[in-house]
């Protein structure tokens, strides 16, 4: 089938990509646009390492045809990282040594951002529920849960920056 042009919003700008039908958002972000935080762990929605936000909702971008995000706003770890310094959730991950090899970290931070945007004061149970679809092979999860709790405290009342 013929390629089509898809436009969506990324990092405050409209981007336009030419894709074969059923190309995933993950493949477009990582391989066409160079947004390498968007990992390709399993390509079947099993690991969460490709998690991005679409209009603020967390999505596994490896399962999402890019046509489905036409006209919508896509948020990745790159787009929430400020030019100077790091995002409060990134800082919390550093403070709690919440990563080792780092492969799951972009997905973990994006799912955490989605949680904190919806629920700035999550219970531990809510954090654990939010992380349930994201795999980590190094940390044993506890440091990640602690980091999200720390990020919630750090951003409490202020709202996590976009």
């Amino acid at each position: 089938m013929a390629s089509t042009i898809v436009t969506f919003e990324l990092a405050g700008r409209e981007v336009e990509v030419m894709v074969k039908p059923m190309t995933t958002l993950q493949a477009v972000l990582r391989y066409q646009l160079g947004f390498t935080s968007v990992k390709e762990g399993c390509r079947q929605g099993g690991c969460g390492s490709c998690t991005v936000l679409v209009d603020g909702e967390p999505m596994m971008s490896c399962l999402l045809p890019v046509e489905d995000v036409a006209g919508r706003r896509v948020t990745t770890l790159e787009t929430i990282t400020p030019d100077e310094g790091v995002h409060p959730i990134q800082q919390a991950f550093i403070d709690h040594t919440a990563f080792q090899c780092g492969y799951c970290t972009p997905g973990m931070i994006m799912i955490s951002k989605a949680l904190l945007d919806h629920d700035p004061h999550p219970t531990r149970e809510a954090i654990v529920d939010a992380l349930a679809g994201n795999l980590c092979r190094c940390t044993g999860y506890e440091p990640i849960v602690a980091a999200v709790e720390g990020a919630a405290q750090a951003t409490a009342g202020k709202g996590a920056p976009r």
């Binding site: 762990g41 399993c42 079947q44 099993g46 690991c47 040594t97 990563f99 080792q100 090899c101 780092g102 492969y103 954090i127 654990v128 529920d129 992380l131 349930a132 795999l135 092979r137 190094c138 940390t139 044993g140 999860y141 506890e142 440091p143 990640i144 849960v145």
Partner: protein
């Protein structure tokens, strides 16, 4: 019914191995901007190898950690190393890096002696990135400036080579005796579990450990290994297998959704204390603390299951099926020998 039990297990874990000898090498050179590149062939798997080697190099060179670049890029072009395994990297590579740093310091002294017009033996490192004439702090040079002068004024390299090798130790054919490792770290783990006798499911409530790992180069990374390793041990004990219904490979898991691992919902309370008894042969007294962290949680959990249910299981992972079959066998045994002293047979 839910039964609770507590189990304990200990581990003595070797640092490094010894098959045909176990060498690591390191090269260090100064760049024109006065930073130091440490070239290695042992990679960082995420445990923080580059961080601890950067710390060791900075300490041995007497410069700030920010001025050290650890390059583990390419095993084709880097100095020889057996690799990152056997909990060996901090010990082996750390020793090699210290040896290389000593050569670098000699090269720095050569140039600094000329720049400061002082005898080599009168110079000392301050550990803060400077070289000075002993007793005359005003006659001091930044190490970065010495490195720059070496390259642009004297046409010299500031570089060092380092190697560490655990020599091959043959096995005594009569006794089997050999010298297999360089040092050993130790740990003891206490696990608490709750076993559901209806479903056979095991919930790990806590994993508490004491570790003796020699000198800690980076306590946050050591804790990361211990906490992550406790989860890995729990995962090996209760979940992970590539062949759940061996020998038919058709039932083997094909992806993350079929390969079972505990997630954020299953994490137990994990606590640890770390004791430091420095080794005699590691850099600054370190021992390896990597693989060992996934060891003692496994038998501790299996022992806790035995304590809770009286079912002794000797294969991994401990599936609900194994526990239910074990409980059934226990009930049948009790029916066959109803007169037996139950306190003596419990759990057999």
């Amino acid at each position: 019914m839910k039964l609770r039990g507590t189990g304990v297990a200990a581990v003595n874990y070797p640092t490094g191995m010894n098959l045909g000898g176990d060498p690591s090498q390191a090269l260090i050179h100064a760049t024109t901007s006065g930073t130091f590149v440490v070239s290695l062939s042992s990679t960082d798997l995420g445990q923080g190898h580059r961080t601890v080697i950067g710390q060791i190099a900075a300490e041995a060179l007497g410069v700030a950690m920010e001025d050290v670049i650890v390059d583990t890029a390419d095993t084709d072009t880097g100095p020889h190393d057996m690799g990152t395994f056997a909990s060996r990297a901090t010990h082996r590579v750390g020793n090699a890096v210290i040896a290389a740093a000593l050569e670098v310091r000699e090269a720095l002294l050569d140039v600094a002696a000329e720049e400061l017009e002082a005898a080599r033996t009168d110079l000392e490192f301050d550990g803060q990135g400077n070289l000075m004439v002993r007793g005359a702090p005003a006659r001091s040079l930044k190490i970065a400036d010495i490195a720059s002068a070496a390259q642009f004024k004297y046409g010299k390299t500031i570089a060092g080579r380092g190697a560490f090798m655990k020599p091959k130790s043959p096995v005594d054919p009569e006794t089997g005796a050999m010298d297999p490792d360089s040092t050993e770290a130790h740990a003891c783990t206490v696990a608490e579990v709750e076993v559901d006798t209806e479903t056979g499911e095991v919930k790990v409530l806590s994993i508490r450990s004491a570790y003796e790992v020699g000198r800690q180069v980076n306590p946050a990374l050591v804790k990361g290994q211990i906490v992550g390793g406790a989860w890995m041990g729990m995962s090996h004990a209760l979940y992970e297998t590539t062949a759940p219904y061996y020998p038919d490979p058709g039932h083997a898991p094909k992806d993350f959704s079929e390969y079972l691992m505990p997630g954020a919902h299953e994490i137990p309370q994990i606590e640890c204390v770390v004791l430091e008894y420095p080794s005699s042969n590691g850099p600054y007294g370190v021992k390896g603390v990597g693989e060992m962290t996934a060891n003692s949680p496994i038998p501790a959990i299996v022992n806790a299951i035995y304590h809770a249910t009286g079912v002794r299981i000797d294969e991994l992972p401990v599936t609900p099926e194994l526990i239910l079959r074990g409980l059934d066998a226990k009930r049948r045994a009790a029916l066959v020998a109803p007169a037996a002293d139950t306190t003596a047979t419990a759990g057999r």
